[in-house]
């Protein structure tokens, strides 16, 4: 609560928090808030500007942009949360394992991290799509793979740092077992910085998913995605700017909101991480 | 003997969450030329703040500075920042507690000793300055000065680094040398060497030394004059022999009785001063030590004046 209060105190944090809440609520409540089904085609009303029937206009198939955008929010948030949560858990497990396991295991895990992160994330994602094929589940899996190393590295570094501290030695002196020290004393002290990193990772995932969908290798129709909406919008840009404006606008609000919120969260949780301070 | 450095009614406040922390209140102290003055006090006494005030290096949350610090008649508090900066290192130098953090790890000792002299001797070349540095290192007891000049701080032991710090401070022939807990981080045998070095150097050095320490033992061995601080006030000051032979302020006495007497039978409980430091945000009226003083009486609700109890020996106590 204290952390949220501090986020709220900073102007950019407040904007971020509002935008984030807007996006999350919009995504969760999409079926309630939508005026049309997201894939309901109305050939008579193709590429219309906003009207009382279609609040933000329609796309090239006459689908309602407002409703489609809301369901796109759902996909974007869902993918971002699923990816970040899985990458977080897998990363922490691998990182802690690397920090505590014998040297060969540690080297193998670090080498894996290095291999994954030596590719630019979009290129790696594209090549994994080529292997696994497109689709929602595959997108979640491959984007997770892309993001595991950064969480794993931080988890390992944090574990090594925390284990050096004298309260760990004090616990050993009391007779605490290795697993007890890991679960009760190391883990609680490493999750803070990693969760902050995770919150800042969400907009990156959203953009990456949109990018893949834009390229046609991400979320498949009939599911709505901001990326594919954006691509369709570009194709018909000369006839209507509304599809691009709506999908691009939503993408901007979501990424900007999460970024500002993540930065404010980082500053609120750990003033020492603040840039320039 | 002349009053060389005179601190008059110096008060310093730090801004804190609850208001202003009155770290120093009406502190007056004179340092006579050529003497070693020991400034002794426990944590929270304000002794380090006083040392920083002399250098014009008070922290950023300082909200008020009042009074005067006069060096040969020049009030340091009214000087502009640039004038103070050129004074530091040239007329006033400081030796810190931790020589590792006070030395820059990426430059050699020689480079740092040369840079320290640039302000004072802008006309001398690097070779001449290195020559002076080597001579000074020899004077502070470092063997093989040429090799030391080429070394990096981490290649020297703690005692050697403190000798380098002393050399750096002395290179510009300051008039005031401030040593703030300069031996606290050192082992006892090395501490004794550094104290001996400071004593030896003070003979050849015509300035004054302000030796700030929490250790009554060290101050009694090294200083000519002593000032005892408690909670932002100087409670007693005077020549070392007079003050330690006949302490007149109850705090000084209490502090001395807390020192462990090696001849006391084992098992006898050790003496402590009951209670804690007073609140320095809302400073209680009257004598600052009254709350913990065994001799307290009604009059202590008023602030005691500093009374002369012997020549040059003052105690701020109604019972002194």
């Amino acid at each position: 609560m204290e952390v949220l209060r501090r986020v709220w105190m900073s102007p950019s944090g407040r904007i971020g928090l509002i935008a984030t809440l807007l996006v999350v609520v919009g995504g969760l409540a999409a079926p309630l808030l939508a005026t049309h089904l997201p894939s309901q085609i109305d050939v008579a009303a193709r590429l219309t500007p906003p009207s009382s029937a279609h609040w933000l206009g329609t796309d090239q198939l006459g689908r309602d942009l407002y409703s489609r955008g809301l369901f796109g929010t759902r996909v974007a948030i869902g993918v971002a949360l699923a990816v970040t949560a899985t990458a977080l858990i897998v990363g922490i497990l691998l990182g802690v394992l690397a920090a505590s396991a014998p040297a060969p295991v540690e080297r193998a895990i670090l080498a894996l991290f290095d291999i994954i992160s030596s590719f630019p994330s979009l290129i790696l994602a594209l090549s994994l799509v080529a292997v696994l094929g497109p689709g929602l589940t595959n997108i979640v899996i491959l984007v997770t793979i892309v993001f595991v190393p950064q969480f794993g590295r931080i988890a390992r570094a944090q574990t090594l740092t925390v284990r050096q501290q004298s309260f760990i030695e004090a616990e050993r002196a009391l007779g605490a077992s290795g697993s007890r020290i890991m679960l009760r004393h190391v883990l609680p002290n490493i999750v803070g910085p990693i969760v902050v990193l995770a919150s800042m990772n969400i907009p990156v995932v959203i953009t990456l998913e949109a990018g893949l969908s834009f390229l046609g290798v991400g979320i498949r129709p009939p599911l709505a995605s901001w990326g594919s909406m954006l691509f369709d919008g570009f194709t018909y840009l000369e006839q209507s700017v509304w599809p691009v404006l709506v999908s691009g606008g939503m993408l901007t609000v979501a990424t900007l909101g999460f970024t500002l919120f993540g930065e404010a969260l980082r500053d609120a949780i750990d003033p020492k991480l603040r840039r320039g301070a | 003997m002349s009053d060389f450095l005179a601190i008059r009614d110096l008060s310093v406040d730090f801004a804190v969450a609850g208001g202003a922390l009155h770290v120093l209140r009406d502190v007056s102290l004179t340092v006579v030329k050529g003497r070693i003055v020991g400034l002794v006090g426990e944590s929270g006494s304000g002794k380090s703040t006083l040392a920083l005030a002399l250098l014009g290096l008070l922290p950023g949350n300082t909200s008020r500075v009042a009074g005067a610090i006069e060096l040969d008649g020049l009030n340091l508090l009214s000087l502009p920042a640039e004038a103070l900066e050129s004074l530091r290192g040239q007329r006033i130098a400081m030796i810190f507690q931790d020589p590792m953090t006070a030395l820059n790890p990426v430059f050699t000792i020689g480079t740092q000793l040369v840079d320290a002299q640039r302000g004072k001797y802008p006309r001398l070349g690097r070779q001449a300055l290195l020559q002076r540095a080597a001579e000074m290192l020899a004077r502070v007891g470092l063997s093989d000065p040429e090799t030391r000049l080429a070394a990096y701080p981490h290649q020297l032991s703690g005692g050697m680094r403190q000798r380098v710090m002393i050399a750096m401070a002395l290179l510009c022939e300051p008039e005031i040398l401030i040593a703030d807990e300069a031996t606290t981080a050192l082992d006892v045998t090395v501490e004794a060497q550094i104290v001996e070095l400071i004593r030896d150097l003070s003979g050849a050095f015509d300035g004054s030394i302000l030796f700030v320490s929490h250790s009554l033992g060290l101050v009694s061995e090294l200083a000519d004059d002593v000032a005892v601080m408690y909670a932002g006030k100087i409670v007693e000051s005077g020549p070392t022999t007079s003050l330690f032979d006949d302490p007149r302020h109850p705090y000084t006495r209490a502090l001395l009785s807390c020192e462990i007497d090696p001849d006391e039978a084992p098992g006898t409980p050790l003496v402590t001063i009951k209670g804690g430091l007073p609140d320095l945000v809302d400073v209680p009226a009257g004598c600052i030590f009254a709350e913990r003083c065994p001799l307290r009486f009604d009059k202590c609700r008023e602030e005691p004046p500093s009374v002369a109890v012997a020549p040059g020996h003052f105690a701020a106590c109604w019972r002194a």
């Binding site: 002196a173 | 807390c258 007497d261």
Partner: protein, 317 residues
């Protein structure tokens, strides 16, 4: 030397070698009996903290043994190691950083019981008694370590160490960073606790005043070896080893009438990575002879005072 009925924690021929060949402890015989206070004195780099940690099993001996009641600690199985930890406890130099930062004080105090599988209902009253004895208020128990003062953290660390009712307590620099006006409190407290619980206390310290006053026996360590050991009173009054004398005379004394003839030691403690040949102290010893450079002196003397020196100082008697 000691009544055999008492529990004893002792090392024999203890070596602790770190990676890179640093011999932090190089052959130490040290005993601590229940109910007595022993001082371990040395400069930084002497190996005193390494030795202390070997006594509670945090550092593994590379040779020699640590025995508790005659049982070799290195040969213990996990369940037996818990038995050791219950009996030998340690308070660390920096009390605040020895408390896990995300646990409340109450949980920190209960943790030793949980670790040792002690029934909380049955043993908590003892913990409460100790916390009360240490003057820790009930309200403090719901705070986190960063919310309490350094002095309180020190008391919490002591309470944690005493929660399992140990026989031996190892205190690493217990007065480091304390003002003189409060260090007496802590030392009186340790003395009281010792009487009340018949503790054997090992004080690891560089503060000679503290060691001289509250210990019955003392060992002076230099580069991982014992230079002199025995009765604290005897050694402080009439040291035989030049290093002990050098240490004692470096200790500042307020009363000018009590200042003894000084012997200022030159130089600093050499690196334990490459200790001097012969007597380890010969590089700094004012009484050094050729023999000291080649032949290592062995501890000799009586039970009251033993010293490792070829050319000891005159005995007081």
């Amino acid at each position: 030397m000691r009544a055999d009925s008492r529990q004893v924690l002792e090392t024999s021929g203890l070596h602790v070698t770190f990676a890179g060949g640093v011999q932090a402890v190089a052959g130490v015989d040290l005993g601590l009996a229940a109910g007595e206070t022993v001082g371990l004195v040395g400069e930084s780099g002497s190996g005193k903290t390494t030795l202390a940690k070997a006594l509670i099993g945090l550092n593994r001996p590379s040779a020699g043994t640590v025995r508790l009641d005659g049982r070799d600690l290195t040969a213990l199985k996990r369940a037996d190691r818990l038995w050791l930890r219950r009996r030998v406890q340690m308070i660390f130099q920096d009390p605040l950083s020895s408390l896990s930062p995300r646990m409340r004080i109450r949980k920190l105090l209960a943790e030793p019981l949980a670790i040792h599988g002690l029934d909380a209902q049955h043993h908590w009253p003892h913990v409460q008694e100790v916390t009360k004895r240490l003057g820790l208020a009930e309200a403090l128990l719901d705070k986190y370590p960063h919310q309490i003062s350094g002095g309180q953290a020190r008391r919490v660390a002591i309470a944690r160490a005493l929660a399992t009712q140990p026989t031996f307590l190892i205190a690493d620099e217990p007065t480091a960073g304390l003002d003189v006006s409060v260090q007496g409190d802590l030392l009186n407290l340790l003395a009281d606790l010792q009487r009340q619980y018949a503790l054997g206390i090992l004080i690891v310290s560089h503060n000679l005043n503290v060691v001289g006053r509250i210990t019955q026996r003392v060992a002076i360590l230099y580069l991982g070896k014992v230079m002199e050991e025995g009765s604290t009173r005897r050694i402080f009054q009439a040291p035989r080893h030049p290093y002990t004398f050098g240490l004692l005379s470096a200790n500042p004394v307020i009363d000018p009438h009590r200042r003894r003839a000084r012997m200022l030691l030159r130089g600093e403690i050499p690196s334990p990575r490459n200790p001097p040949s012969g007597c380890r102290f010969h590089t700094r010893c004012p009484r050094v002879q050729d023999r000291c450079r080649v032949e290592e002196p062995q501890l000799a003397g009586d039970a009251e005072q033993r010293y490792a020196c070829h050319f000891p100082l005159e005995s007081a008697t």
